[in-house]
Every structure is written in structure tokens, then in C-alpha cells.
């Protein structure tokens, strides 16, 4: 007993969680400040949260190349976590930049919005750096609970309420699956530490075909596949993405999705490497299903937000291809793709924020009629984001898909790569249709466009810089991603 306590105390390493400590301190300080500010004063909260993200980013980036392990190996702030943490922080910063004017316009200038985003980001960071089932679960809960609140943030709006409640109920349900999976795996191996589970399973091959192990892996996977919105666990995505406030939809589709990928990747690689042929075969089918469902259903959508929700399902499918490949280039391509997707998707949503007026009446395709003429620069920016989502060179989306499919081909999954490319071709239709409405339809005469605030423009500029940087010189970031995987 005495020894156990001593070992536990000696293994604490605060540096391993330093970035999230900083972020959470900022978030809590912000909560307190909000309580004392008058209602409607959200500008200071925005600035403080941005400063918090910047300080955290500094702390994260300075840890690159010098991994920190803490809490008896329950937390690892390695390059893998660092790469994902940077992705989350960029996603959070871009979301916050596009939010302030939007929540004011929609009539909910409530300061708690910003600390909630920071808490979500902190949860995502724990998921990416967790090397113990419990740490990952804790991060998932912190992230999800803040997101449930954010999805239902417009409490007077029926659709936002629906989004919040639906996300909460289904999310809680999927968390149950995940936890049951963790419990079964713990029952088989006697550990929640990822590396110990892997070593134990590898040393006891008879356990690999044990129904309890398989059921555990299945339940665990369901939990994560729900969070990354892979088919057939994608049903919640369209409703939640459509109902949630637009910046939150943007954030949800980038940050938390990347976090779920990070944890899923780490668990599969650390714990179940002995079963790799089996789980890649399952993910092969799911990746194909996800790509097809996402792309095909997106075609019939008339609401742009809903269309982007289905497109986000399809993009989860592309990223899953990288997991099926399960080689160096496939894994690093997932990291690259999540970063690229953060830029292009949040960029597209930032422009949607400016395209909609109060109550989000005109987020339909019709509502975008003539957008390209009334707002020429925004039209061009939207076009670039959509081109990147399609995967047209020289954008980030192209480079990401290129690496993903290269990984699949290298691992021998030629057909999977072909299906992926065909799916990209399908996606051209619904992305291009948005442009058709933007440029080839007349705008309504008496249309009141919202004014363009500077902060949203900054967010869009970050997106465009990211898209072109990752698109034109992808090698630099791809090298970092290669250093980041295990």
C-alpha cells in the first residue's frame, strides 16, 4: 500500500498536462469574469478566450519533440497529441473569431459561450493525449457535455433545442457503449492502460478469439464511430448539425471529430495491434459505407448546413480509409487530413455565418442565389473552400485525399482507393451546385445582407492561408505528421 502511494506520487508529471491546465484556468477565469460582467458584454470574453488559446498553443508547440509522460503513463503529451492539440486550438480559435457577431445577431449574447468552447477544447486535448482508457473517457465526457450545451445554446429556438437534446440522448447512449467496451476489455486484460492491454493480448493469443474481447472491441469502436459520425452511426449528424448554431456546427465537425479519431487511432494501434487484419477488414466496410451514404444523401439536400453535415460524414469516411490502410502514410494522412479539414470546413461555415441573416432563414440553396455577385470576395472565398472540400488541386483537400488514397494503395487496398476517388467525383455535384446558385442565379432585390465584421474575415483569411499552405507545400506539414505517429 505504502509503495503504491509512493509510486503514484512519484509518477505525477504536471508538464504532461500543462497545456490543458492553462486552458482550463483561462476558461474558469472567464466564467468568473462573465458572472460579473453585464449581460451582452461578450467582446472581452472573446478576447480573453483568444489569448487563452494563444498561450495554450505556445505551451503545446514548445513541447514538440520532447514528449512528456505523466500519471503512471495515463497521459502522454507526445508528438501525436501535440499535432492534434494544434488542430483543436486552430479549430477553437477560428470558431471563436466567427462567433461574436453571430451570437449577438441571433440574440444570445451570453458570455458562457466562450468558456464552453475552451472546455470542449480541453476535453479534446485530453482525448488526444490519453494513454489510459479512463483518461480518454474523461476527456470524451468533458468534451461532449460542453458540446451538448453548445448545440442547444439558442434556447428559444426549437431546432437548436432539438439538436441539443438529440445529441445529448444519443451521445449519452453511445458513451454507454464505449464504457461497456472498456469494462469488458478490462475484464479480459485486467488493465485500463493502453500499452498494458496491448502487451497482455499479444502475450495471450488465445484471448484474441475470446468472445468477450471481441465484444469489447466492438462496443469500444461503436462509441468512437458514433463520435466521428461514421455510418451506420451517423443518424444524429444531420439534425444536430442543422439545428446547432452555425459556428458550433463548424467546430463540432472539426475539433471533436479529430479528437475522436485521435483516441480511436491510439486505442486501436496500442491495444489491438495483434488483431489488425480483423479490425481493418471491418473498418474497410464501414469506410465504404460512410463515404457512399455521406455523398449520396448530400446530393438531395437543399439546406446548405445539412448538406455540409452529410459532406462531413463523407469526409469521416475518407479519413477512415487512412485507418484501414494502417501504415505510416495512412496514419499520418489522417493527422494531415484532420488539419486540412479544419481549415476548409470551418472556413466554409464562417462564410455561411455571413450568408445567413437572423434566424438563419436563408441557409437554403435558394437563399444563396446571387451571393457571388452581392459579396464578390466572400463568394470567391466560399468557392475556394468548396473546391478544397471537393479535393481539387492546389488546395489542402486535394493533398489530404492524395495522401489518404496513397496510403490505401500502398497497403494494397486498390479497390478502396478507387471507391474513394469515385465518391469524390460524386461529391463534385453537390458542391458545384452551391456555386451554380451563387453565380448563375439572380439575387432577390430587397435582400438585407448582414454586415461583415473584421473578426469573421480574420477567421476566413486563416482558413484560406491554411488551405493554400497545405495545398501548395503539403510536404512540410506531412513531415511533421510522420514524426507525430507512433
Amino acid at each position: 500500500m505504502e509503495n503504491l502511494v509512493q509510486t503514484a506520487l512519484n509518477n505525477v508529471n504536471m508538464w504532461a498536462i500543462m497545456p490543458s491546465i492553462i486552458l482550463v484556468c483561462f476558461a474558469m477565469g472567464l466564467l468568473l469574469i462573465n458572472a460579473f460582467l453585464p449581460r451582452g458584454a461578450t467582446k472581452p470574453a472573446m478576447w480573453i478566450s483568444l489569448i487563452g488559446l494563444a498561450v495554450t498553443a505556445f505551451s503545446v508547440i514548445s513541447g514538440w519533440g520532447s514528449p512528456q509522460y505523466g500519471f503512471s503513463d495515463a497521459v502522454a503529451l507526445d508528438n501525436f497529441a501535440t499535432f492534434f492539440n494544434v488542430t483543436f486550438l486552430i479549430a477553437a480559435a477560428m470558431t471563436i473569431l466567427m462567433s461574436d457577431d453571430y451570437i449577438r445577431r441571433e440574440g444570445y449574447p451570453i458570455g458562457e459561450y466562450y468558456p464552453l468552447i475552451l472546455f470542449t477544447t480541453a476535453g479534446a486535448m485530453w482525448m488526444a493525449s490519453g494513454t489510459d482508457m479512463m483518461t480518454i473517457f474523461l476527456g470524451l465526457e468533458v468534451m461532449s457535455i460542453s458540446l451538448y450545451v453548445l448545440a442547444g445554446f439558442f434556447r428559444g429556438d426549437v431546432r437548436s433545442n432539438e439538436a441539443g437534446l438529440k445529441y445529448f440522448l444519443l451521445g449519452a447512449f453511445s458513451t454507454g457503449f464505449l464504457l461497456y467496451g472498456i469494462a469488458l476489455i478490462y475484464g479480459v486484460t485486467g488493465s485500463t492502460r493502453l500499452s498494458e492491454i496491448g502487451v497482455f493480448l499479444n502475450a495471450h493469443p488465445s484471448l484474441l478469439s475470446n468472445p468477450m474481447t471481441l465484444a469489447g472491441i466492438m462496443l469500444l469502436s461503436i462509441g468512437f464511430l458514433f463520435k466521428i459520425a461514421a455510418a451506420p452511426f451517423h443518424m444524429w449528424t444531420p439534425d444536430v448539425y442543422e439545428g446547432a448554431p452555425t459556428p458550433i456546427t463548424a467546430f463540432m465537425s472539426a475539433g471533436p471529430k479529430a479528437a475522436a479519431f485521435a483516441a480511436f487511432l491510439r486505442i486501436m494501434e496500442y491495444c489491438f495491434f495483434s488483431l489488425k487484419p480483423e479490425w481493418t477488414a471491418v473498418l474497410w466496410a464501414l469506410a465504404v459505407l460512410t463515404m457512399i451514404i455521406g455523398n449520396v444523401i448530400a446530393i438531395s439536400q437543399t439546406n446548405v448546413k445539412r448538406m455540409l453535415a452529410y459532406s462531413s460524414i463523407a469526409h469521416a469516411g475518407y479519413a477512415l480509409v487512412g485507418m484501414v490502410a494502417a501504415n505510416e502514410i495512412g496514419y499520418s494522412a489522417i493527422l494531415f487530413y484532420m488539419l486540412a479539414y479544419t481549415f476548409m470546413n470551418i472556413g466554409a461555415f464562417a462564410i455561411l455565418v455571413l450568408a445567413g441573416k437572423k434566424g438563419e432563414e436563408n441557409l437554403t440553396l435558394e437563399g444563396l442565389s446571387g451571393f457571388g455577385y452581392k459579396r464578390p470576395l466572400l463568394g470567391v472565398a466560399f468557392t475556394i473552400c468548396l473546391f478544397s472540400l471537393m479535393g481539387i488541386p492546389p488546395t489542402a483537400g486535394f493533398a489530404g485525399k492524395f495522401y489518404i488514397f496513397a496510403g490505401a494503395v500502398k497497403a494494397g487496398y486498390i479497390w478502396l482507393a478507387i471507391i474513394g476517388v469515385l465518391n469524390s467525383a460524386v461529391s463534385l455535384y453537390y458542391y458545384l451546385r452551391v456555386m451554380v446558385y451563387m453565380y448563375f442565379r439572380e439575387a432577390e432585390e430587397d435582400y438585407s445582407w448582414v454586415k461583415v465584421p473584421v473578426s469573421v474575415v480574420v477567421s476566413i483569411v486563416i482558413a484560406l492561408v491554411g488551405i493554400f499552405y497545405l495545398g501548395i507545400i503539403p510536404g512540410a506539414v506531412m513531415d511533421l505528421a510522420r514524426l507525430a505517429i507512433f
Partner: protein, 118 residues
């Protein structure tokens, strides 16, 4: 291994039989003199006030949630207190941080007026 569960199964069996048996027998043997008051649903032994399917003010839920949050705080302190000597200074500081976090929540809740009933 299943042998260990035999007493539990026996207990469950006896409990179920007793519950069913006593309900059935009192229904068969007992005298019945129904009146309006006797047939009414049981509500704390008081006369009925209204229907049970009313909407409750959200204030009750807030109070309940706050109770849970601060109740859990105390629950966490028990194991800590047991291990206090072994954890030493580190444990003391950690618990201080924990209480500080809850204090932030408390100040927030207070300032937001969640503790006021009216």
C-alpha cells in the same frame, strides 16, 4: 463457481415468493370495505391535492443539480481524508486546487442568482 451463487438464488426465491404470496393471500382472505379515501392513490398519507402529472418549476432541478455537485465534493474528501498522511503535502495542495475549482463554480452560481428562490 456457480455454487457460490446458490444462497443468493435461494434468497431471491424466498423474497419473490413472500412478496407474491402475501399480496395474493391478503387479497383473498382480507376484508374489503372500500371508501373514496381508501381507494385514492397514496400520497404521503395526506389528502390528495391534485394530479401527479404536473409541471414542476425548473428551480427544483437547479437546486437538485447544485446539491449533487457540492455533495460529490464532500464524497471525494472522505477517501482523501483517510489517505491524508500518506499523500502528504502533494495531496493537500491537490485537494486545495479541487476545492478552489468548486469555489469558482460556487461563486459563479451565487452571482448568477441560482441560489435565490424568488
Amino acid at each position: 463457481m456457480l455454487d457460490n451463487y446458490l444462497p443468493i438464488f435461494t434468497l431471491i426465491l424466498i423474497a419473490v415468493c413472500f412478496a407474491i404470496g402475501s399480496t395474493v393471500f391478503s387479497g383473498l382472505i382480507g376484508q374489503k370495505k372500500p371508501s373514496e379515501v381508501k381507494l385514492a392513490p397514496y400520497e404521503c398519507g395526506m389528502p390528495l391535492v391534485g394530479t401527479a402529472r404536473e409541471r414542476f418549476s425548473v428551480k427544483f432541478y437547479i437546486i437538485a443539480m447544485l446539491f449533487i455537485v457540492f455533495d460529490i465534493e464532500v464524497v471525494f474528501m472522505y477517501p482523501w481524508a483517510v489517505m491524508f498522511k500518506r499523500l502528504g503535502m502533494f495531496g493537500f495542495v491537490e485537494m486545495g486546487v479541487f476545492i478552489l475549482i468548486l469555489l469558482v463554480g460556487y461563486i459563479y452560481v451565487w452571482k448568477k442568482g441560482a441560489l435565490e428562490w424568488e
